[in-house]
């Protein structure tokens, strides 16, 4: 039988742990992508080697569909691997992980399709691919070139597995809520459907926009206080917080096109300042 959702995670952890990665637990903050985790953003800066892997829950308020769409979720999981400096055999290591979770590359069509990655809110970009398995994007594969506006030297290689999609593929399931979460009869829907319904209602209809605008301002101010106190990590956390609040405001549809750029710019300035402070302290 194919891997359950939780066994998929365990297998990837086992595999990357075996290749020298520190296995971290999810960061305890709301964020839109595993990349936002300080273990990726901050550790990609400066000269020190770093290898880690972790699961990160991601929240994308605008993607919520009240649990009614078989492919879209407002919250989902990413499995994130970062290796610095990027090893020469990173592609082979990655393909080894696919074999480990049961994908035979002579039966399934694995492809590296150009996809350059950019995060305007992090002032970060890199080149790489989306990895396709039989036409399905299962991983984002990126060589970081810049983070927080700073050159990455050495370069970090980042692998981001979309866990639900990958599991749906492996299990041959067409609806995310039908995924086997474990091998004891619990589905993904049992665990998360109600979550999707309620969070969609909250993000689209209920969230207090006044309070959110206020929260954004406060997070930005707090970030600056931390920067003044030369505390890059708490400063970066406040940047993450501001970023998530902004995402929720977007879902509520209260940010106009013109304002949108201004908000992204504000978050980027905070993230960049935190990165600068981190580099200064790390002596990079």
């Amino acid at each position: 039988m194919s891997l359950s959702f939780q066994d998929l995670i365990l297998t990837l952890q086992q595999y990357w742990g075996g290749h020298g990665c520190v296995l971290l637990q999810p960061y305890d903050m709301e964020m839109g992508a595993g990349t936002f985790h300080p273990a990726t953003v901050l550790r990609a800066l400066g000269p020190d080697p770093w290898k880690c892997a972790y699961v990160q829950p991601c929240r994308r308020p605008t993607d919520g569909r009240y649990g009614e769409n078989p492919n879209r979720l407002g919250a989902y999981y990413q499995f994130q691997v970062v290796l610095k400096p990027s090893p020469d055999d990173l592609q082979d290591l990655y393909l080894g992980s696919l074999t480990a979770i049961g994908i035979d590359p002579l039966k399934h069509d694995i492809r590296f399709v150009e996809d350059d990655w950019e995060s305007p809110t992090l002032g970060a970009w890199g080149l790489g691919w989306e990895v396709w398995c039989d036409g399905m994007e299962v991983t984002q594969f990126t060589y970081f070139q810049q983070v927080g506006g700073f050159e990455c030297k050495p370069v970090t290689g980042e692998l981001t597995y979309g866990l639900e999609r990958l599991a749906m593929y492996i299990q041959g399931v067409d609806n995310v809520f039908d995924l086997r979460f474990n091998d004891a009869g619990v589905t993904y829907g049992d665990v998360f459907r109600e979550n999707e319904v309620e969070m969609s209602a909250y993000n689209f209809e209920v969230a207090d926009t006044e309070a959110l605008f206020d929260l954004f301002k406060k997070a930005a101010a707090e970030c600056e206080r931390c920067l003044a106190a030369k505390l890059p990590i708490p400063a970066y956390e406040q940047a993450i917080k501001a970023s998530h609040v902004f995402n929720t405001l977007q879902a509520r549809g209260v940010i106009s096109v013109a304002e949108r750029q201004a908000y992204i710019g504000r978050v980027r300035d905070l993230a960049k300042a935190a990165c600068a402070a981190w580099l200064e302290r790390a002596g990079g």
């Binding site: 769409n69 492919n71 039966k107 694995i110 036409g135 370069v155 067409d174």
Partner: protein, 700 residues
Amino acid sequence: MADFLLELLSEEIPARMQAKARNDLARWFAELMAAGGLTHGAIETYSTPRRLVLIARDVADATVASREELKGPRANAPEQALEGFLRKTGLTRDQLEQRDGVYFAVIARDGRAAAEVLAETIKRIVAEFPWPKSMRWADGTQRWVRPLHGVVAMLGEDIVPVEIDGIASGATTAGHRFHHPGAITVGGASDYIEKLRACHVIVDQAEREALIRDGAAKAAADAGLTLLPDEGLVVENAGLTEWPVPLVGRFDDDFLDVPREVIVLTMRTNQKYFACTASDGGLAPGFVCVANIAANDGGQAIAQGNARVLAARLADARFFWEQDVKVPLESQAKKLDGIVFHEKLGTVADKVDRVARLARWLVKDGIVKGANPDQVERAARLAKADLVTGMVGEFPELQGVIGGYLAAAQGEPKAVAEAIRDHYKPVGQGDEAPTAPVTVAVALADKLDSICQFFVEGIIPTGSKDPFALRRQALGALAIIIRNDLRLSIGDVLALEMGSGAGLRAGKKPSKVDEALTARSLDLISKLQLLLDFLTERLKVQQRDAGVRHDIIDAVFALGEEHDIVRLLARVNALQAFVETADGTNLLVAYKRAANILKKEKWEEARRQAQGERSGVEAEEAALAAALDAAEPTASAAIDQEDFTGAMAALASLRVPIDTFFDKVTVNDADPAKRERRLNLLLRFRDAVNRVADFSRIES
């Protein structure tokens, strides 16, 4: 002499960059070899997702040794002269030779071994390759499109030693990523392609493209489908595979409710699949994808997997479609005031108001005939509404198309739905200009509004800068005008646009009406001239692209003062036809002869005749004068009636008289009166011809 092989093995090169990379590699290699003085024969370049390959035939073994002698200053010349010579030659004084009191520099170059020149060439190619985007990796400083892993460099059977960022050249490369993951050794250019083929890599992109083109069509046919050919997809898939295997997949019939364009676009853009049609010409619920392996189950799992991915995508598209159909376009249009069209030109809602007004005017003024003005206004008001739909949010390139489908689904009249669908047309070279009257009015108004508004704001394309694609919009507007024979004055359009612009845009209201009006009309005149020049320039481009000779275009445009595009083109066409006839060719010869004589004699305007003006008039002279008497009014009348073919025919009647005139009559007669009279006659002939077109610009 030997053949040279270069293979640069890397991680996957983006498909869209490969064609340019091959060209750059060939050009760059040839340039560097020429600079290095190493001769070679034909160059072939190839690319696969993982390699960039060059084979140069018949590379010389070494560069030719040379000896060059340069004469310098005299030995007793000032010191500066000698210093300058040393700088120029790069030699020191004791390296110069002195003969007969003169310095000579002898520069001898030894022949260099081919391997040495090739190694330098490879280093420079890798160091300076013009990738659109390149990257660093690991802890190195080398840049390449993706991490570079290997360099095969062989001259004949010998390795050309070179090292690039820790990678030493050799004879070893990799086969197909999954079929032959291990290292393989090649013997040189002679066996490279076949060795790789044996390891499941087809090196030649043209061969892969043919395999995909033919294989996809065959796979579809075997499944009872007809492939929709798509050369862009052929090339892209060839850039994504080393061992292409086309496979047929299916999707659920239910998805065919979604607009066809959406399905095709989803397949093409997101999945790189070929779409197929059924026997009735409608879209079939099947597709062809191209795998990169000969799968061990015959491709069944791959086809199924791809079908599942597509189903998920189509389900998403259907979700948006179903949501969008529920919202009337009219309500969507209300949201357009939230979208900024341009900071100086207001919102999209403002633009829609202007377009609606202009489109209605085009119909009311009789410029666009056969359109119901209410339908025109309705179509114009709904044309941009799809910009706020979920569908266009997902597929921006389907703007207009989605609006058309939604309008039809929501019961708008066919003419309105079509106008919404096609109002962006024509979008480029080869795209048909619309002809349905309602569509013509909206499509033309949309383009003219953008052009006029940006010109009014002084946002005018210069050089390579045309951020709002006004040149393309102008070409589109011209194509619509020409295709539909529309007679309109750009001046009227601009006046209307400036009027409505001032009214519709906040902060633009004149404080003192009179002053503002005067200022505005002055401004209007200067803007109009700029706009006319711009459109004229576009029209020339458009006509050149349509295959009209540029000198013919110039000959007509040089007349100036003609701003009716349809009339201009009628004249261009008549002239083009005329100069290709025997009459036209001969008349042109005679015209040039007359013009040359007049130029030589500096006879720029007719001079009043002294006495005896009628004395010694030759018969041929009189015949030409008579012919002109007849042709001038005929040509003028024909031009007035826009009968340019008639005007050309009138000119043609001058051909025999002018030819015989030149045969029989001496222009430069000793009698100044005769000379003057004849020069005046030639002038009259030249001017008569020039009224139809400036023949001096036509090349013989």
